[in-house]
């Protein structure tokens, strides 16, 4: 039988299989196609230096993050999912993990209010008023969290709020692993 008659159904079969595979991959509990994977994984964390939120004395820069495993969280008071994930972050801090915050394009008063109401899990917080530091980290959505190991390499990026399931399955295990 001539190739030209078999080719259409053949190509279609391959395509249908691809679609099927993809649907399976993005199905319930599967990958989120809107998420863009980070290119900074396994690379040194970016160079940056952030002042403290007005009214505080800390601030955050690159050297603060070297020496132990940590979670860096990019948040803002005007971001509703940040509020949703915050209790999870408080929990992590209570368990002894090191959390650092980058406050993105926020008014000092609002940021302080957010921390006062929901708690402050962060060892240090840097205020990124113009968003440049976040760009160095490849941030595009809020909130985003990064897990750093003790040598100062980024090991994992979580896009969106950290839900309890993510805490259980990914965040806590990874933090424990890199803390050893």
């Amino acid at each position: 039988m001539r190739l030209s008659f078999i080719l259409p159904i053949g190509i279609f079969a391959i395509l249908a299989a691809l679609f099927g595979i993809y649907l399976y991959q993005i199905g319930p509990g599967g990958k989120d196609i809107k998420q863009i994977p980070s290119v900074l994984i396994d690379k040194e964390l970016p160079e940056f230096e952030l002042p403290p939120i007005e009214g505080r004395g800390d601030g955050l820069n690159t050297s603060d993050l070297k020496g132990r495993a940590a979670l860096v969280n990019v948040f803002a008071s005007w971001c509703p999912p940040c509020r949703t994930e915050h209790p999870g972050l408080m929990q992590l801090a209570k368990e002894g993990f090191a959390l650092y915050g980058i406050n993105y394009k926020d008014k000092p008063k609002d940021a302080m209010g957010f921390l006062a109401r929901l708690g402050d899990p962060f060892k240090r917080i840097g205020a990124d008023a113009n968003g440049r530091a976040a760009i160095e980290w490849g941030v595009y959505g809020y909130p985003e969290s990064f897990i750093i190991d003790r040598t100062g390499r980024i090991r994992y990026k979580h896009i969106g709020p950290i839900m309890p399931r993510d805490l259980e399955m990914t965040i806590r295990p990874l933090l424990e692993k890199f803390s050893k």
Binding site: S4, I36, K105, G131, R132, I135, E136, W137, G138
Partner: protein, 158 residues
């Protein structure tokens, strides 16, 4: 004036049409050549928080920040490639609206040419094959010929 920019514009804009709608007056650089480069680069950088827009088109915050960064780096003397590399080293290749030419995209960029080639070959082969074999359909009877004529207007021109 901005001749080369216009040419590039035509190529891009035949399908994407009108340039920047989101550049703010205070972002525009004073040097028109640098500004033109900034616009060209912005047009091929994707706005990651939008649907299918370039940072030149979008008025999202991230787009604005990246536009400003592009202009800053151009003013600092970076080449076009260096500026693009700056962005892709932080956001990955996905930020490029024009897919890069690397191993994962050989099939994408080579595809059109291959498809055209296959099409041409198919046409030529079919031509040759049919020229070699005369049609073996049974000739129509007079009655069938008449009916066919009526149905197709005697094959008169269109």
């Amino acid at each position: 004036m901005r001749a080369r920019a216009r040419l590039i514009l035509l190529l891009l804009a035949v399908t994407v049409a009108a340039p920047a709608m989101a550049v703010e007056p205070h972002e525009i650089l004073n040097d028109p050549a640098l500004e033109a480069r900034a616009r060209d680069i912005s047009k091929i950088l994707r706005c990651l928080v939008c649907q299918n827009q370039s940072i030149d088109d979008s008025n999202a915050g991230l787009a604005r920040d990246l536009r400003v960064i592009v202009r800053e780096r151009l003013t600092a003397g970076d080449s076009d490639d260096a500026v693009i590399a700056f962005v892709t080293s932080r956001y990955g290749d996905f930020v490029l609206l024009k897919p890069p030419f690397k191993s994962t995209t050989y099939l994408l960029w080579g595809g059109p040419g291959i498809i055209l080639l296959i099409g041409l070959v198919a046409v030529v082969v079919t031509f040759r094959r049919r020229a070699a074999q005369p049609s073996d359909a049974a000739p129509l009877t007079d009655d069938e010929m008449q009916r066919l004529e009526k149905l197709t207007d005697g094959g008169r021109d269109p």
